[in-house]
Symmetry: none
Subunit: 226 residues, 2 copies
DNA sequence: CTAGCTTACGGTATTCGTAATTATT
DNA sequence: AATAATTACGAATACCGTAAGCTAG
């Protein structure tokens, strides 16, 4: 199967006429007919019912055209994603967690992130602190949470909660965690009052980050501004 | 862009070595290198970082490989869909299953579905919950079963069994699990029925239900009445 | 006979494999 | 020197366009 086949199929399905479809595709009838035939042979099902007066979709064709459109759509999305990624935008956050982290607060924070920006993917990885630091340097993770430990390695750490939880990030990428925000084609992690430098394409937000105001009542209002 | 390019890219990304990737693809290094180059040129982003000792994915490549895999997956599903449609199925349910789901009950449920709506094709996919949620959003699956986990993402979840199993479905598609019902061009699972239905009455389907051939043989014919 | 899809055939473009080239350890 | 990726070039394959063939009304 080939993407060209899919485009041919979609056009023919829309026109229900090989001649007009060929015209729209800027090819002749003959290669279009062959492409459809090859596609049918490939998927193992007849897609069109060739009658004397025109062409009609079979049931299999009706089922297939939705998928065909979706395939092309997914491909276009993928192209957009990879271009955005090449431009520096990151649509996902890989967060390393130390064992024994206060799960409740993290859960609430992540629930909030997902609720506000569901398009941003957040992945959690549990590991010891040493592995966290290594992973941060090796670009295995974007940020990490750990119990404050007097971090002296080459990472930027900021306390974020009143129980001693900190954010650890690579030193050349100085930001702290407060709010995930969607940007054009990507995601950003806004640091608010803490920092404002770039993190390899993750730009600091200009707006007012108040990520924690919707956390459970006990921790509401605590955090970044103290 | 070409599907061949995607397959090449995925293999190289998995091997991180052009030679081994070429071997797996049954081609030589040379056309593989050219294919990758062409793909990079097409998507407009460098996908691999060619270092002296080996190949590494760029960030854009890391983003792209997920989409590349998804594209191929969607295509495989589409092929399955059209073949099933040609075989006479008028509806389909793609159900994502978390690992560790109670297979016996699912088997019985599917037997019931098969009995009530034999024209509806049911496909099962096993994957972790995170992938389930993503797939639901991407319309890779119609519904999912998982252990209850306090799902608060943008899905509709309904407890369906007394051991904590829930159904997760996209929020805009309003149905839950228990009974399969044919709709225009598709199928839906109606909610509530299972909760009020006496599961002891459920019998395994007689004959050879096509929907079941993907389940392990060991669970075939088992039933809900424990 | 006409309309419309399909098959036959020759030319162009793409891709492959072999081999030479470059680069790094 | 050796390993690994990239270009160079002839051969095989795929695709297009023109033209002829088939079928229904």
């Amino acid at each position: 199967m080939n993407l060209r086949h899919l485009r041919c199929f979609i056009t023919v399905a829309e026109e229900l006429h090989f001649g007009r479809a060929a015209e729209r595709l800027h090819i002749e009838q003959s290669p279009l007919s062959r492409a459809i035939k090859k596609l049918e042979s490939n998927v193992g099902a007849r897609l069109f019912e060739r009658t004397s007066r025109g062409v009609q979709l079979t049931w299999a064709g009706k089922v297939f055209i939705e998928d065909a459109r979706r395939i092309l759509l997914v491909i276009e999305q993928a192209k957009g994603n990879v271009r955005a990624a090449a431009a520096g935008f990151r649509g996902r956050l890989r967060i390393a967690l130390s064992d024994g982290i206060a799960q409740a607060r993290l859960t609430a924070l992540l629930a909030l992130c997902r609720e506000e920006e569901p398009d941003i993917e957040i992945r959690l990885f549990e590991m010891p602190l040493s592995q966290q630091l290594k992973g941060l340097k090796n670009d295995l993770y974007d940020a990490g949470f750990t119990l404050f430990d007097g971090l002296k390695a080459d990472v930027v750490a900021q306390p974020v909660w009143q129980d001693p939880i900190v954010v650890t990030i690579p030193s050349e990428a100085s930001f702290a965690c407060a709010q995930v925000r969607r940007t054009q084609g990507g995601a950003e992690l806004s640091a608010g009052a803490l920092q404002s430098r770039d993190v390899r394409g993750v730009r600091p937000a200009t707006g007012t980050p108040a990520a924690f105001h919707r956390l459970p009542t006990s921790s509401r209002g605590t955090c970044l501004d103290h």
